[in-house]
Symmetry: C2
Subunit: 113 residues, 2 copies
């Protein structure tokens, strides 16, 4: 039981473990948005966004409401937004090391400014 509980938590973290899905949740943190608006704001392929939405749906992190032609998404539980907010705090607390890390990992130019 202990273990399947952890598997459940891990699954949710897994769902959060993609930049696009984090972006989606952050965009939704102020209220519901249609898939179309999300796609536009993200500036990504429709199918790709739709797939990420499917992941979030599968793990029940978002709920969706169909209104005619469109589908509106919203964050299912505010706790997730709190978690993301905590992560922001975490990031700021470790900003220096994080930048160094990112620096070493990827494009050094952007982070250097």
């Amino acid at each position: 039981m202990q273990d399947s509980l952890r598997r459940f938590k891990a699954d949710i973290f897994q769902a959060l473990a993609h930049p696009t899905r984090i972006a989606i949740l952050e965009l939704l943190s102020k209220g519901e948005l249609s898939a179309g608006v999300l796609i536009e704001k993200l500036g990504m392929e429709q199918a790709n966004v739709s797939q990420h939405l499917a992941v979030l749906r599968a793990k029940q992190l978002v709920s969706n409401r169909k209104a005619g032609n469109q589908v509106f998404y919203s964050v299912r539980d505010r706790i997730l937004i709190e978690v993301l907010s905590l992560m922001r705090t975490y990031f700021h607390a470790h900003l220096k090391e994080s930048l160094t890390m990112l620096d070493e990992m990827e494009s050094p130019l952007e982070t250097a400014r």
Copy 2:
């Protein structure tokens, strides 16, 4: 920039996205433990645990202190423990649906009791 920040967050969630690593962090939430004790409490292969510890180290979620023969691990930032605690709340809030989900996904017998 916005994007690399999200990649950073995603990376951390990725590190959290494994039952064993969640178990490790939960075991460490009360204070530091040696790798040996962790291995014993987890009841898993030494190499496997060590690999998961390496992931947590790489993402800087834990720090380690070498004392003679042993290596003691601890959670680097209490915020992570808060995050895990929030997730616990989240889990309890969604217990029913979660069980149904797990039920449909895997062994139906265990969860049915």
